[in-house]
């Protein structure tokens, strides 16, 4: 009972704080407070391996903490790559593009080392069980989205063949990493294990996308049904004499424009 209570206080309640923070930010009621709440929740979830080491759920917090570094590096790199290019505002130095590309490649390289080297997230003396969930899902979804972005650029853009080719190369690069992981063992994870989890990753991606799509569709149907049930708005009555006088007085007060200094 004590263990469950600790897990609730140090893992589940902080995890719930993240969507609450998101709600507050989206609703613009307490934008700053929402961001602070969300960040506190996320930090506490990442700290759960220390606060509630006995809970199995802490493995997820441990994994999030393990991938935080490469993710920040990736974000930094992408920012440099985008704003080091031809942007109308906030342009960075041209070298930001190359340093950004290097940062993105390094972040993926570090994740690769987590699979094929001794950088693998270790939890309770074994490979973090969620690492083998994260890695194939990231690779599979990444290659899928890059492929879709490439087709979208060619199809909806104009003269974007070169950019689309770059995205195809990125897609093939991510798929190649997955392909290599299917055949080459790491010191802590085996290729057979990766191949088994590839099925789960595909199921996770398709299931999550379908579930999110169904929720959004339900949300749209609920709003649409409600809006359709509303009566047509009534015509407003014409302005009264007093209202017309008030509007005219306001207009007159602003027609003059004042004296020039």
């Amino acid at each position: 009972m004590q263990a469950m209570l600790e897990a609730a206080i140090w893992f589940w309640i902080p995890l719930i704080l993240v969507p609450i923070g998101f709600w507050l930010v989206v609703s613009s009621r307490a934008e700053k407070g929402g961001k602070i709440l969300g960040i506190i929740g996320l930090v506490l979830v990442m700290a759960s391996p220390w606060t509630v080491p006995d809970s199995d759920s802490s493995a997820a917090g441990h994994l999030l903490l393990a991938i935080l570094g490469p993710t920040i590096l990736m974000g930094y790199g992408l920012h440099g790559m985008v704003f080091g290019g031809e942007v109308p505002v906030g342009k960075l130095d041209n070298s930001a593009r190359w340093s950004g590309a290097l940062a993105v490649i390094s972040s993926i390289f570090i994740m690769g080392l987590m699979h094929w080297s001794t950088f693998t997230p270790i939890w309770r003396g074994q490979v973090n069980p969620y690492w083998i969930v994260f890695w194939p899902t990231f690779l599979m979804f990444g290659t899928s989205l890059c492929s879709a972005a490439s087709v979208a650029l060619v199809g909806f853009g104009e003269d974007r063949d070169r950019e689309a080719t770059n995205l195809v190369i990125a897609s093939i690069f991510l798929a190649s990493i997955a392909f290599v992981a299917m055949f080459i063992d790491g010191p802590n994870t085996s290729a057979a294990e990766f191949r088994t989890h590839l099925w789960s990753a595909a199921a996770d991606i398709l299931g999550t996308v379908a579930g999110v799509g169904a929720a959004i569709a339900t949300f749209a149907i609920v709003i649409w049904t409600y809006e359709r049930s509303l009566p047509d708005p009534e015509n407003t009555p014409p302005p009264s004499e007093d209202e017309i006088k008030h509007v005219v007085s306001l207009a007159k007060a602003h027609l003059d424009g004042g004296e020039e200094e």
């Binding site: 969507p19 709600w23 989206v26 609703s27 759920s57 493995a59 994994l63 999030l64 992408l78 790559m81 985008v82 031809e86 942007v87 593009r97 590309a101 993105v104 969620y130 969930v133 994260f134 899902t137 990231f138 690779l139 599979m140 899928s144 989205l145 492929s147 879709a148 972005a149 979208a152 650029l153 199809g155 909806f156 104009e158 070169r162 950019e163 770059n166 995205l167 990125a170 997955a178 299917m182 191949r195 088994t196 590839l198 099925w199 789960s200 990753a201 595909a202 199921a203 996770d204 991606i205 379908a210 579930g211 999110v212 169904a214 959004i216 339900t218 949300f219 709003i223 049904t225 409600y226």
Partner: protein
């Protein structure tokens, strides 16, 4: 106006194709699918539906603020989430359908949420990478002149 040279169907295929290729290679080398993959699909679908529904419920409260706080959409959305919860509970309590290697319903539900947290993070980071690379590719070329000034 420029005609689009692709359709949503082709885009959908472009999303699915890499996944299908990797899965096909996996099958070719002898890793056939297991019942666990179907269970994972079902669990991921129901969990993401419920969690996303709860997130959208928050947006519905913000929407209600601009509509004299109607109760009908909130009740409708709660009912839709309730159906998802009941369905998940019913399917998980049947050991052959959605229960994975967990001790019971509560353990399975908590495991589903944690797993969604991890796979959702993986998908979000992959999304960040794909969107970032797309914009990096677009801004990588000098801006084209759209309008020439008349002399």
């Amino acid at each position: 106006m420029k005609q689009a040279r692709t359709s949503w169907k082709v885009l959908f295929l472009a999303i699915l194709l890499p996944i299908l290729v990797l899965v096909t290679i996996n099958i070719t080398i002898g890793n056939t699918h297991s019942a666990e993959a179907f269970k994972r699909f079902g669990n991921a679908l129901l969990t993401s539906y419920i969690v996303m529904g709860i997130l959208l419920l928050g947006n519905l409260i913000a929407y209600a603020d601009s509509r004299h706080r109607p109760a009908a959409p909130l009740v409708g959305m709660l009912a839709a989430i309730g159906v998802g919860v009941l369905l998940a509970g019913a399917l998980v309590s049947n050991s052959d359908l959605l229960l994975e290697a967990n001790s019971g319903i509560r353990a399975q539900i908590l495991s589903n949420i944690v797993r969604l947290l991890v796979s959702g993070t993986a998908m979000a980071i992959a999304g960040l990478l794909a969107v970032g690379l797309t914009f990096a590719a677009i801004t990588g070329r000098p801006r084209r002149v759209l309008f020439y000034e008349e002399e």
